[in-house]
C-alpha cells in the first residue's frame, strides 16, 4: 500500500518506492553474480583438493619404493643405490611443502567466499563492496604454482571432466635457471 502510494508523483519522476525496488533489484543482481562465481569456484576448489590427495598418495608411494631400495641396498651394501634412494626420498618428501601451499590457497579462496557473502549480507550500499567483490574475482593471483593455475583454468573450461594431471614436471636441468 505504502509502496503504491509513493510510486509516482504528479510529474512522473522517481519516488521512494521505486528507488527501493531498484535497490532490491541491484541487490538481487549482486547475489546472482555471487552465485555464478561461487558455482564456478567450488569445482576449482574441489579439483585443487583432489590434487593434494593425489600428490600425497604419489609421494607416499615413492617413499615406499625408496625405503625398499634402501633396505635392500643396506643388505647388499650398494652405496650408489643408497645415495640415489636418499636423493629421491628428499624429492618425494617435499610433498609436504607443496601440499601445504595448495591447502593454504584453498583456505584463502574460502576466506574470500566468506568475505564476499558478508559484503552481500551488508547490502548493496556497503562502501567496500566493489573492492571486496573484485578481490574474489581475482583469486587466481593467489596461486604460486603453474600447476595450480593450469588446474584452475582446466576446471573452468566447459569440457572439463577428467582429473588434470597434477604431478610436477620431471625434475631436471629445466628446473634451474641461472642468470
Amino acid at each position: 500500500m505504502e509502496a503504491g502510494a509513493h510510486a509516482m508523483n504528479a510529474g512522473g519522476s522517481s519516488v521512494p518506492g521505486e528507488q527501493a525496488l531498484t535497490k532490491l533489484r541491484g541487490h538481487q543482481r549482486a547475489w546472482e553474480v555471487f552465485g555464478t562465481d561461487a558455482l564456478k569456484m567450488i569445482p576449482v576448489l574441489q579439483a585443487q583438493l583432489s590434487a593434494v590427495t593425489q600428490e600425497t598418495e604419489r609421494a607416499a608411494a615413492e617413499l615406499m619404493i625408496h625405503l625398499r631400495v634402501l633396505a635392500a641396498s643396506h643388505q647388499a651394501g650398494s652405496s650408489a643405490d643408497r645415495t640415489e634412494s636418499v636423493s629421491k626420498s628428499v624429492v618425494a618428501m617435499q610433498f609436504q611443502d607443496i601440499t601445504r601451499q595448495k591447502l593454504e590457497h584453498v583456505g584463502q579462496a574460502l576466506a574470500l567466499l566468506s568475505r564476499h557473502l558478508h559484503v552481500l549480507l551488508k547490502g548493496p550500499e556497503y562502501v567496500g563492496a566493489q573492492q571486496e567483490l573484485a578481490a574474489f574475482v581475482q583469486f587466481e593471483e593467489h596461486y604460486t604454482m603453474e600447476e595450480e593455475r593450469r588446474l584452475h583454468q582446466a576446471t573452468l573450461a566447459q569440457d572439463y571432466g577428467e582429473p588434470v594431471p597434477t604431478s610436477l614436471s620431471e625434475e631436471g636441468q629445466d628446473s634451474v635457471t641461472l642468470f
Partner: protein, 123 residues
C-alpha cells in the same frame, strides 16, 4: 675450511631438507625462517658463501631479502639462489632484477642443487 650457507624458508621441513643436503656436502648451514629473520642473522657480520632462499614467505619475501642483502657490501657478490615452487617467467625476471644469481623450482633434486651451487660458487 668448509663453506657456510644461509638457508631461508618459512617451511621447517624444507629448511631441514636443504640443510640435510648441504650439511652432507660439507657446508655449515645457518637457517632463517623468513627474510626478516635472515637479515637479522646476517647482521652479525659472519662470512657467508651462498644464500638459498624461498620466494613466498611472511614478514619479508625472497625478492625483498635479495634487495636488502645486495645493499650490503659483504653480499655484493655472494651467490643467491631462489628455491621456490613459483616458476612464472615474470617472477624469475623480478628475481633477476633484484640480484638473484639463479632460480631453482621446487621440488628440488639434491644432486642438481649441489651441482648448481658448485657452478655459482666462486672458485
Amino acid at each position: 675450511m668448509g663453506k657456510t650457507a644461509l638457508v631461508v624458508d618459512d617451511s621447517r621441513t624444507m629448511r631441514q631438507m636443504v640443510a640435510f643436503t648441504l650439511t652432507n656436502a660439507g657446508f655449515t648451514v645457518i637457517e632463517a625462517e623468513d627474510g626478516k629473520d635472515a637479515v637479522k642473522k646476517v647482521a652479525g657480520g659472519g662470512k657467508l658463501d651462498i644464500v638459498v632462499t624461498d620466494l613466498n614467505m611472511p614478514e619479508m619475501d625472497g625478492i625483498t631479502l635479495i634487495k636488502e642483502l645486495r645493499k650490503l657490501a659483504s653480499f655484493k657478490f655472494t651467490p643467491i639462489l631462489m628455491l621456490t615452487t613459483e616458476s612464472a617467467m615474470e617472477k624469475k625476471q623480478e628475481g633477476k632484477a633484484a640480484g638473484a644469481t639463479g632460480w631453482i623450482v621446487k621440488p628440488f633434486n639434491p644432486e642438481i642443487l649441489l651441482k648448481t651451487i658448485a657452478k655459482v660458487l666462486p672458485v
